[in-house]
């Protein structure tokens, strides 16, 4: 069983479609997306309600998670970086983990075969 790696990409919401296409093009088909709030160097914005100002410092982001084994992690990283980089603070982060096991619920298959989609 070769190594399975989870890649977690936190980035701007409006880049989702581009990122998805880019990942698809290098063979990453399965992924899970969630909506998150980010906090870091990027400044938020000001809001005003009845004359009172508030600083909003949690910025809406999306988190895309994908577990890969065949596709090289480095390629995922470089491709993602390319489409997501705007040179503006707030582009986000990518984190890489090792995972122990995976299972495809539909078939019960475990290990790397669980995430290799050609069997469907």
């Amino acid at each position: 069983m070769s190594k399975m790696t989870k890649i977690e990409i936190i980035t701007r919401a409006n880049k989702l479609e581009e990122l998805k296409s880019a990942l698809n093009s290098i063979g990453v088909e399965g992924m899970t997306v969630s909506q998150v709030y980010g906090c870091g160097l990027q400044k938020g914005h000001k809001e005003v309600y009845r004359g009172r100002e508030y600083s909003i410092n949690l910025v809406p982001k999306i988190k895309l998670e994908t577990v890969v084994c065949d596709v090289p992690v480095d390629q995922v990283l470089s491709v993602s970086q390319k489409v997501l980089c705007t040179d503006q603070v707030g582009d986000g982060k990518i984190f890489v983990y090792t995972i122990d096991n995976a299972m495809r619920i539909r078939t019960g298959t475990q290990g790397t075969k669980a995430i290799t989609d050609d069997e469907a």
Partner: protein, 471 residues
């Protein structure tokens, strides 16, 4: 009384054939026509104040149907919000067209020369032919004002039914059913009760259609929800209202419009309209309080949905009585309506186990029944000389007439619905498949989502970047 036809009050109530009533639905239906009285002397001139009141009342009743869409829409799961709103909204279009072309003449065409005298009027007013420039008999408003006020009633009645089968029917079957139901159940009913030629003077009182509209739709809803079956997971999985502020909005619009519904049914801006307006507010307000207190006592929490439901229960119950009862009886009618309808939806429905999704029967059927009975108890000629005295004012005949009318409405609603359901279901399936029900009807039936957005990012998430068909 809603439709004051020219004529003199003939107080005699024909109660003799009580048994024969159960022998023939047909006969019974004919008997529903109430006695009609001349509320105003016949002055064949349009009065601008009366016309203004009836026209604005028509607009008020209009807003009730979209309001009903929100009332119902807030109570379903968000995956079905659009289909539920659509059930009310689309019907405004569908039935208004039907009414203008066919419905009005069926209901209010001349009786003597009618298609089936006593049941369906003459078709010579097809497409509203001959209505322009006329004054509606016994009133001082143009017939066209009466046509459009009535149109709004024809529209909301089938819309009420949709609460019973929410979250599980196909749109095509819904369209077909509603059209057939309106043509074959509502129009004849309206003719017999309001457009009829005094053939049968049973003497039942129904000021603004509580009996006809609410009982008929409530019973039809009940029949339909039993025929269609429960929602998948009903009673086992949780099915909660997804947006209660929307339901409150709907209730507020309904209450608002109901002033036109009830007080507008006086067909003039006068003492009677004012009295009906007061009775309407009295009952709605008291029912709001009583429903909330009932659940406060029983469940320990006074709920917002309870307040919204309570006011509707009160409004339904006062509908047949609004122009016949004094304020304090109206308060009592509301008090009982809130409690009775609460128990109908909270206890009875669960006991009996049918899935009347949004309580069309529990609120409109039960509330309408109570209101029709209450009219028989508290109606008084002191409020409306053209009405009758109820049991508490010394006369039991009215109550009997009300009971018979109720039975007729139950029979007509259930049998008629059963037949039309069978016909529709033979043409196109009424119910969606299990997979469709899980996906939600908004996507499956309409290709839309109520809220296709992310609250956080403000973007349209989840859409492919190639738009497949952009012509």
């Amino acid at each position: 009384m809603l439709y004051s036809l020219a004529g003199k009050k003939e107080g005699k109530i024909y109660m003799k054939k009580l048994w024969s009533v159960f022998l023939s639905t047909f006969m019974l239906l004919l008997m529903m026509t109430p006695i009609a009285f001349a509320a105003t002397e016949e002055v064949p001139k349009v009065d601008s104040g009366d016309t203004a009141w009836v026209l604005i009342s028509a607009a008020l009743v209009f807003i009730m149907t979209p309001g009903l869409g929100f009332f119902y829409g807030g109570m379903v799961r968000s995956k079905n919000v659009l289909t539920t709103i659509m059930h009310s909204f689309f019907i405004v279009g569908l039935i208004s067209v039907e009414w203008i072309i066919l419905g009005y003449t069926m209901a209010f065409g001349d009786d003597a020369t009618g298609v089936i005298p006593g049941i369906i009027g003459s078709l010579d007013k097809i497409g509203l032919a001959g209505t322009a420039g006329q004054i509606w008999t016994g009133t001082s408003i143009p017939e066209l004002a009466f046509v459009i006020f009535q149109c709004m009633f024809a529209v909301i009645t089938p819309a009420l039914i949709t609460g019973a089968f929410a979250e599980r029917v196909k749109f095509k079957a819904y369209v077909l059913f509603m059209l057939l139901w309106t043509i074959f159940i509502y129009n004849p009913m309206a003719h017999m009760v309001w457009g009829g030629g005094k053939l049968f003077e049973l003497g039942a009182l129904d000021f603004a259609g509580g009996l006809v509209i609410h009982i008929l739709s409530g019973v039809s809803g009940l029949t339909l929800c039993i025929l269609i079956g429960k929602r998948r997971g009903y009673g086992k999985l949780p099915i909660l209202p997804h947006h209660l502020p929307m339901t409150v909005l709907g209730a507020a619009l309904l209450w608002f419009g109901w002033f036109g519904f009830n007080a507008g049914s006086a067909l003039g801006a006068n003492e009677l309209a004012s009295s009906a307006f007061v009775a309407t507010q009295a009952a709605a307000a008291m029912a709001t309080v009583s429903w909330v207190f009932c659940e406060w006592i029983r469940n320990g929490k006074p709920t917002t949905l309870g307040a919204a439901s309570g006011c509707i229960a009160g409004l339904v119950a006062i509908t047949p009585a609004a122009g016949f009862v004094a304020p304090i009886p109206a308060v009592i009618i509301g008090l009982v309506a809130g409690a009775v309808c609460y128990f109908a939806v909270a206890v009875l429905k669960n006991k009996l186990g049918y899935d009347d999704s949004l309580d069309a029967f529990g609120v409109h059927g039960i509330g309408g029944t109570w209101g029709a009975l209450a009219t028989g108890l508290w109606a008084t000629t002191a409020v409306n000389p053209a009405g009758a005295d109820g049991l508490f004012y010394g006369d039991g005949n009215l109550l009997s007439a009300q009971v018979i009318s109720i039975i007729v409405a139950y029979l007509l609603g259930s049998i008629g619905t059963f037949i039309i359901y069978k016909i529709v279901n033979a043409i196109t399936p009424f119910r969606v498949s299990e997979a469709e029900e899980i996906s939600g009807l908004d996507i499956v039936e309409h290709g839309e989502r109520g809220y296709s957005h992310s609250l956080m990012t403000g973007e349209s998430l989840g859409v492919q970047n190639d738009l497949t068909k952009t012509n």
